[in-house]
Amino acid sequence: MAYSMKVTDDLFENLRMELRRGCLVLAVLSQLRVEHYGYTLRKALADHGMSIDEGTLYPLLRRLEAQGLLASEWREEAKRNKRFYHLSPEGRAMLAHLLEEWNTINESLANIFAVNLKEA
């Protein structure tokens, strides 16, 4: 019984991470409508209930920058050099598209849930 519960918990954790991973880019782009550096971005996302570990977030920021969706610059703040990220013009356009897509998906899911609830 304990083994099957652990298997279910592990499965849930894997599926949960998969679900969150799918939303990550949208969450990061959305949060970067305001300028952040790596640590403050992670804190801001965590404050909104989207905890991401550093090993995933920081390489993602570089990838999005390489794809032209973010721009970054080194600046001194509180006597320390930090790399600040913000949305590029292409990033803003992409965010708008992704939000549209997100709303479409949300509507579809809401319909599916409503239908399934009726059938249940």
């Binding site: 550096y37 790596g38 640590y39 403050t40 992670r42 570990d53 550093e54 090993g55 995933t56 920081y58 390489p59 570089r62 080194w74 320390r80 050099n81 930090k82 790399r83």
Partner: protein, 355 residues
């Protein structure tokens, strides 16, 4: 962009500096300084946050806990590399398919060439054992080459963002038809292995009579009774003839790896070809007039004449029985095919009778 924890300025035992140094060893050289500076800046911010909350500096244990949550240095560095797989999920199905085909083809080529070499150099149990023992090395080498090729393909695809494969690069119309009665691949492979085993047995048996006669082979040791040159002249070509059906069955098996099941017509033709090849071989063997002879003195000739007659009778009877069984099998196959094709007509008459 010197950080507080730069490995060049921090004390040698500083835990965070050591962590950053360890990450740096695994980062690509061209981006190492930039990535380390960013990781360092974020790490410092986190440490300062914690220290502000505690109202004091972090001790070594607390630093270690913080770093442990960030994961192992080489894993942190690996996430900054563009390619995360040796062979990724897009390329992997092709790799797996090609690997299986390559291993089967290389196994067939290896054992075929090995058998021919044994036939030329002489067959011994030790040589056969050596050939089989060396096969895993050959298989591993082939698998390594295929893996290296597909790892290079993965590198090219991920680095150059190539769409692999082309989305419209296949035709549904070219998919093979499904036939109701189809042999599964394991059955075909088992048949192949049995066929190859049979050929190997026929190749080795003349030199090791115990494979045919068991313990009774001891009686032949030192005996003057030998196979005639006429029998040897036909024996090896007959063994070679058996490779033809093996080649066809191997081709069918390889084709089935792509999902194509041989049609009933194709299987019938294969069956007819196999039986016919066997019938031709047996017919040629039956044309040999003398199978065994005594090589020795006149006394040996007189002593073993009856034994030669017995061996010859057994051989001829075996060949005739084999020929009859093979011929019967061929006729049976034709008869069944004929019956099946006329079955719809029979069921029509049955229905007519009920009305």
């Amino acid at each position: 962009m010197d950080s507080q924890f730069s490995s060049t300025t921090a004390p040698a035992d500083d835990l965070i500096a050591r962590y950053l140094h360890a990450i740096g060893k695994h980062l690509p050289a061209s981006r190492r300084e930039d990535i380390l500076a960013e990781i360092s800046a974020n790490l410092i911010a986190e440490v300062e946050d914690r220290e502000a909350a505690l109202g004091r500096a972090l001790n070594k244990t607390e630093q270690a806990e913080l770093l442990k949550a960030h994961d192992r240095p080489f894993l942190v560095a690996a996430r900054y590399r563009p390619q995360q797989y040796l062979i990724g999920p897009t390329v992997f199905p092709y790799y797996w398919l090609i690997l299986r085909i390559a291993l089967v083809v290389s196994a067939f080529a290896y054992f075929l060439s090995g058998s021919i070499l044994l036939g030329v150099q002489g067959v011994t149990a030790a040589k056969i054992g050596g050939m089989i023992a060396r096969f895993p090395y050959t298989a591993l080498l082939n698998a390594t080459i295929v893996t290296a090729i597909f790892a290079a393909l993965e590198w090219a695809v991920s680095r150059h963002e190539i769409e692999f494969p082309e989305r419209d690069g296949w035709k549904p119309e070219a998919l093979p038809l499904i036939h109701p009665s189809s042999r599964n691949q394991i059955g075909v492979l088992a048949g192949l292995v049995a066929h190859l085993g049979g050929i190997l047995w026929l190749a080795v048996a003349p030199f090791h009579p115990y494979l045919v006669l068991g313990p009774g082979a001891g009686y032949f040791t030192g005996s003057p009774v030998h196979a005639t040159p006429a029998l040897w002249a036909i024996y090896w070509p007959l063994v070679g003839l058996l490779f033809l059906p093996l080649l066809i069955e191997t081709g069918v098996f390889l084709h089935s790896l792509s999902g194509a099941i041989p049609s009933s017509r194709q299987r019938l033709l294969m069956h007819i070809f196999n039986r016919s090849a066997t019938l031709v071989g047996l017919a040629l063997a039956l044309r040999v007039h003398e199978y065994f002879t005594v090589i020795g003195t006149a006394a040996d000739q007189a002593k073993y004449a009856h034994a030669v007659e017995v061996y010859t009778s057994i051989t001829v009877i075996s060949l005739r029985v084999g020929f009859a069984i093979c011929l019967f099998g061929l006729v049976w196959t034709f008869g069944r095919r004929l019956f099946k094709s006329s079955a719809p007509a029979l069921s029509f008459w049955k229905t007519g009778a009920q009305l």
